[in-house]
Symmetry: C2
Subunit: 241 residues, 2 copies
Amino acid sequence: MPTQNSALAPSYTKCSQCGLMKLCLPSGLDPQDMIQLENIIELSTPYNDNQSVFHANQTFECIYTVKSGMFKTLVIDVNGNEHILGFHLPGELFGLDAIYPKKYISSAISLGTSSVCAIHYTDLETLSSKLPSLQRQLFCLMSKEVHTFQSLTVEHAADQKLAGFILALSVRYKQRGYSQTRINLMMPRRDIANHLNMAAETVSRLFKRFQQEGLIYIQRSDLQITNMEALKQLAGCASYC
Amino acid sequence: MPTQNSALAPSYTKCSQCGLMKLCLPSGLDPQDMIQLENIIELSTPYNDNQSVFHANQTFECIYTVKSGMFKTLVIDVNGNEHILGFHLPGELFGLDAIYPKKYISSAISLGTSSVCAIHYTDLETLSSKLPSLQRQLFCLMSKEVHTFQSLTVEHAADQKLAGFILALSVRYKQRGYSQTRINLMMPRRDIANHLNMAAETVSRLFKRFQQEGLIYIQRSDLQITNMEALKQLAGCASYC
DNA sequence: CGAACAATTGAACCGATTCAAGATGCGTGG
DNA sequence: CCACGCATCTTGAATCGGTTCAATTGTTCG
């Protein structure tokens, strides 16, 4: 049984970048192509808590895959208010939104000690025009990304949003081989609230209610899902399906 | 001076599909490549009001570009509630979100008499692996699409959202050669409200307020922007930038 | 231990929704 | 051409979910 995701995932520390990329690219590439892909990937030194991978307005160069830990991407509006666009788990990509404007739109910040692989976009573009399977993967990935944000634009009640958020984390961790019922949130309540467009107080009250109703057990950032079905029922279809 | 967009845009009725594609693909393709692209595009017969181009769950085959009129894409949640994901103006693409799941996620419905061009996705994929410039364009387009939805996830007050919506339409029509100050809304208040996650009554009240404040003049679906700067000020940065 | 920060809890408040009614515009047929 | 009927839009008043503000508790770390 997988353990809580606070430590590096065993599957990551043991596996090659090839394995990492397989996790990033949903339906896989053939091994020959994978080797070529590995050649354009750069490992970077780990980040401590709250460090930036890139900032909004910097020239776009690389897209990133999370190797361990977690990152958040956020934008700052004209009034100086932050808005967290999303959280990125091991095996997930970020930086794709910078392709069109040729500069980063968002800033990427580490949550706790975390590390990434960097992929130069020009290299990726060149390679994917040589490898149709890679091209297909990338189109799929970007379509999925569109999807994720589409789901977020559908308004729900606060409890549905939070339930959906928890379930989405559960599904994503499961896909990467972590526990789907025990999750280390890593981000503070304030960040969850910000991402879901609600007050931190509301998140706090809802976590309490969910626990009273037996849906979850939560202690600080250690979250256990105790009634998956009820949680799904509550979320309706919010964000994760 | 461009006229209101209620009739077909002159630039469209006169121009070839090549011209249409140029509008869809931001930074253009060289003429040679464009000819190859034209070969995989199919014109379809026009739709009357409220007809469906595709429905959610149908097998994904084509992506579409709007030739004239307007289309909306919408999803229906588990409770049977509609949510309008977006409105698609002439020269814009829709159906990209179906690539990853290989079936349409949303349904596309015409608003008034409208027409499209269909592009078989498998052909497009094949062609774009031969034409690096086309591949680049498509990555850009999808990145832009991610962008659009990212912006929508940032919560604003109702008046900011509506102001942002109006401005976004203005910008998009301008890009396609229509008037940026006089817009035919085409969709009912209910649809605007639904898309922006608010009640139709709120839209009505806000249009009235905007008119009283001299930002717009609106008569049924005929909208004129009378104070662009103030509208931008109000919207802050919502959705259009 | 004590400072600084994060999370919780309670109470007043507010923006937007809901519900209900009325106004307006539009197509149809007499 | 006007009268009718339907759908859309507008307007007002009551209500509610979630925010804001303020105070308290809990946690982490030098």
